[in-house]
Symmetry: C2
Subunit: 542 residues, 2 copies
């Protein structure tokens, strides 16, 4: 995000590679030059000017015979626009401005851009190429219909479409439907990589005019696909003719249709990419995780090992007098299984020092232990320049079952959008994947199977404070992700007392979530900019 | 926010009082029934239904002869709408839906509502009354022009317009301009009170057809004004005739034009109201502040004493070996001046306990002290149920000159939108106001005059790490509030090396601000939802 020079260099390298491989057109994702989403940087004049200037500078050095289609930020009379430039012959030959601006979920595009209202068709090697940008494709009867009426020979669509569980099928269905409606092949190119709380999963798709998939790129992987697509020529009245002569290929390209990832594998990859990119793009190399022997921290550690390699993952066990024997043993087994580096810092001397100075009981004493651990993690982080990972899951965040400035400390929270039942499912999946690969399963079986406990008082169990996760998570999924109300939840058959209790917990914990670290969105509705609710609220569902 | 029953009861009580005082029309602020802003609650079906039902229930009990104009949330085919209901005779007689939805700054209305596209004119006692909602009034050539073309006899405008420094003059100018354009008196009624990081300052205004101010309500005070406004009858073709007979008043009403507050007084009131409402509406009564003897914590304490009364304000001094002698003395003087309750907890035993367990040096050791203080504050907060107030100012937040989970802990941050130079200005203003009132100035002079220091290492001064505040704050104001870029800052004459340094600090600290507590917006651009920037960003202004 924002690295205009670095992104231009990447685009140039890929365009040159494409040209060297005989490509006639190179299509890059939405706002590839600036990164996406740029958020309020779109409103800053200096950034608008820099992006508009960078596209000109880039155009001058891109392979002149290639037509490169590159997303960037432009401005018209101070109004920021989400655009693509059609670049050839060392200059920007035409531009297309996104017409439909998503302003729901994680998107604030109506805030950050001014929409376009013109379609664009350019003739390249005799083919009339139409261009749309991301949301344009999703709106019925809008920019897509307008373009379809112009009968392009092919449609190219740069996208910045973040990962959501199971979203891939929706995308493929849409791409097929639009190709059939337009009656032309359609190429959907999506961004890859992590950016704050979003992960872009690629999953680029090309279909023919009947909606048959010609090619599909792997999910979560940066790369380039070379495609040879049959398209009818001279089908439209183009806005611009770049070239008329038919394109000739000197060889046959066999397009790949990538294997689709399963549900757990897909989520695992999303979190790995989100974490890796947050760490690296923010200049960190090593991460630090408090290891309790429990499943949440074990899962985060396993993800971190996959993202960065175990030698860059540091664990710290911080036992207290309430820690069970297996806490340390399980953390040690995790370290042996994965190869991460484990150290131990006892929190008892610090806890005792506070307890001597202040009279603390009950929740205050429980929270104290969590906060001493938080301070310990941050001290090591500061001393050794490691990024602390918070290990809270979505069930905990939802219910406020975490301690602000305690277990909630960290720069990134990999599993904040994963309900507890999925924490277990992902852990089992990862161990099974290791077994299939003939590797050592990373996560200790006892961490998966033991009863969840915060271990902040004697014999404490999560079930003392929370409903059973299997039921809790179902209520949460419907209340948080589906935004259903009390009456709808009751109508689904959930116990009324449970529903009341869960809703009250979720509503009350909004202030905690506001101060929680960012983490990758993988669900339909993640906490954060995907779900914006007041902290101060007297709305009660019943 | 969200307290439909409570708000309905308040509306009813005021409507009855209005009717008893002979009023014919009662005008309430934007979304008075639901509270404002409702954020994503607008998207929840259960809340849409509840609001729409509540307006019917309220309508049935409102004084039947009065015409009450009440803002609420409605829904049409699942689409949420920001509306006002015109209520009389025990039922909703007509509605008007907001046509222009602000989606900039702190507003996300394009996300949360579907706009209307119809004007509304109702005849009440022979006067053709036009209605607009807030943003409708600000857009040239839109809903206001459409309504003006219908030549209403008076225009009533409910608003939810948050406080910003100096905004009042803009409002008055707009109200006057629109009244003249429409050629009719205009009544602008604004919400009062704090809601998370917004403060609504009231400042309701009535002007005649020539734009002369007839009445202006006090800022920051809940209340009701009774106005007798001259308006021409039967000027338009109304959508609905409620009554034709001329309204008679049995007495003469002398409208008040409230004294405008000065800049510091206005800001002081905004923060006091914001803090008070956050505390009370979230079910707290007492607040806790770490008192360092420095100016930031002294100012926050003085504000808290004004907001809640000193008996509900608790201070804790947490000296370390780096604390100067005057730290405790100044905190004690503050306590004597204000009457707040002060206690002392030495952090040395806890710091020593950490230092024995871990080898910490430099920044890690400095941050440790701040985090031990943070944990101490939270321990007291948990034990005694007090809301911790964070004492960071906007200069610190901008530059990242604070410790996450250390001095940054808290549920509310009263001065997070106040630059350091204004921290001093507000402190001097408050002391002077006390002197004028013959009261004891709350803030110790030495706290105002001593050189700022975090006191985390021997002889540390803010000026070791930061430019002089007088210059720093000017650069920040232009970079953060005005969103100017590097070249523009240089063109203003700022030292290039300083500009480069300040921009780098601000950009790098975005991750800290994301985890900072909420606090009242008083500037044109506050950190938080007013300024949304990526954490992961390689954009460099130069």
């Amino acid at each position: 995000m924002g690295d205009l020079e670095g992104n231009a260099a990447l685009i140039l390298a890929h365009a040159e590679s494409a040209a060297n491989n005989g490509a006639h057109v190179a299509l890059f994702p939405e706002m590839a030059l600036t990164g996406y989403p740029v958020e309020d940087l779109a409103l800053r004049k200096s950034f608008q000017i820099a992006s508009a200037k960078s596209i000109e500078v880039l155009a001058a050095v891109l392979p002149p015979k290639l037509v490169s289609i590159v997303g960037y930020l432009d401005h018209v009379g101070g109004a920021p626009q989400n655009r693509v430039a059609v670049i050839t012959g060392g200059a920007v030959a035409a531009t297309y401005t996104k017409c439909h601006l998503p302003n729901y979920g994680v998107f604030d595009e109506y805030r950050n851009f001014v929409p376009g209202n013109q379609s664009l068709v350019v003739r390249i090697h005799g083919i009339d190429v139409g261009i749309l940008i991301c949301e344009d494709l999703w709106v019925d009867g809008g920019a897509t219909a307008k373009l379809a009426a112009r009968t392009p020979g092919i449609v190219l669509v740069p996208n910045g479409s973040p990962f959501e569980r199971n979203k891939d099928d929706v995308r493929a269905a849409l791409v097929k439907k639009r190709a059939i409606e337009i009656g032309a092949p359609l190429v959907y190119v999506n961004m890859t990589g992590g950016q704050d709380d979003l992960v872009f999963d690629g999953d680029s798709i090309a279909v023919d005019a009947r909606g048959n998939v010609i090619a599909r790129a792997p999910q979560f992987e940066d790369g380039m696909m070379l495609l040879d697509i049959e398209a009818a020529g001279s089908t439209a009245t183009p806005d611009l003719i770049i070239s008329e002569e038919e394109a000739k290929l000197d060889r046959v390209l066999i397009p790949g249709i990538s294997h689709r990832l399963g549900d757990e594998e897909e989520i695992w990859n999303a979190i790995v990419v989100g974490l890796r990119d947050y760490v690296i793009k923010n200049g960190f190399s090593q991460v630090l995780i408090g290891l309790s022997g429990g499943i949440d921290s074990a899962l985060v550690a396993a993800i971190a090992c996959d993202a960065l390699g175990p030698e860059l993952v540091h664990g710290v066990a911080m036992p207290s007098k309430y820690s069970s024997d297996h806490s340390i043993e399980d953390a040690e087994e995790l370290a042996r299984n994965t190869g991460l580096r484990l150290r131990t810092v006892s929190i008892e001397p610090m806890v005792d020092a506070y307890m001597n100075e202040m009279k603390l009981t009950g929740l205050a004493e429980e929270n104290l232990q969590a906060r001493v651990r938080g301070t310990t993690l941050m001290a090591i982080s500061n001393q050794e320049n490691m990024l602390v990972l918070a290990t809270g899951n979505k069930s905990e965040l939802a219910c406020g079952y975490s301690t602000l400035y305690g277990d909630a400390v960290g720069g990134y929270a990999p599993i904040k959008d994963i309900y507890k039942v999925d924490v277990w499912a992902l852990s089992r999946w990862r161990n099974e994947a290791a077994r299939i690969a003939g590797e050592k399963p990373p996560i200790p079986v006892r961490s998966i199977e033991k009863e969840p406990s915060a271990e902040l008082r004697p014999d404490q169990k999560d079930s003392d404070s929370l409903p059973e996760y299997e039921i809790l998570d179902e209520v949460l999924r419907n209340y948080v992700d589906e935004d259903l109300g009390h009456n709808e939840l009751i109508a689904m058959g959930f116990d009324p007392a449970l529903v009341k209790r869960v809703i009250a917990m979720v509503d009350k914990a909004e202030y905690k979530r506001r101060q929680y670290p960012p983490g990758p969105k993988v669900s339909m509705r993640a906490f954060g900019k995907d779900r914006r609710l007041p902290m101060t609220s007297h709305w009660r569902e019943l």
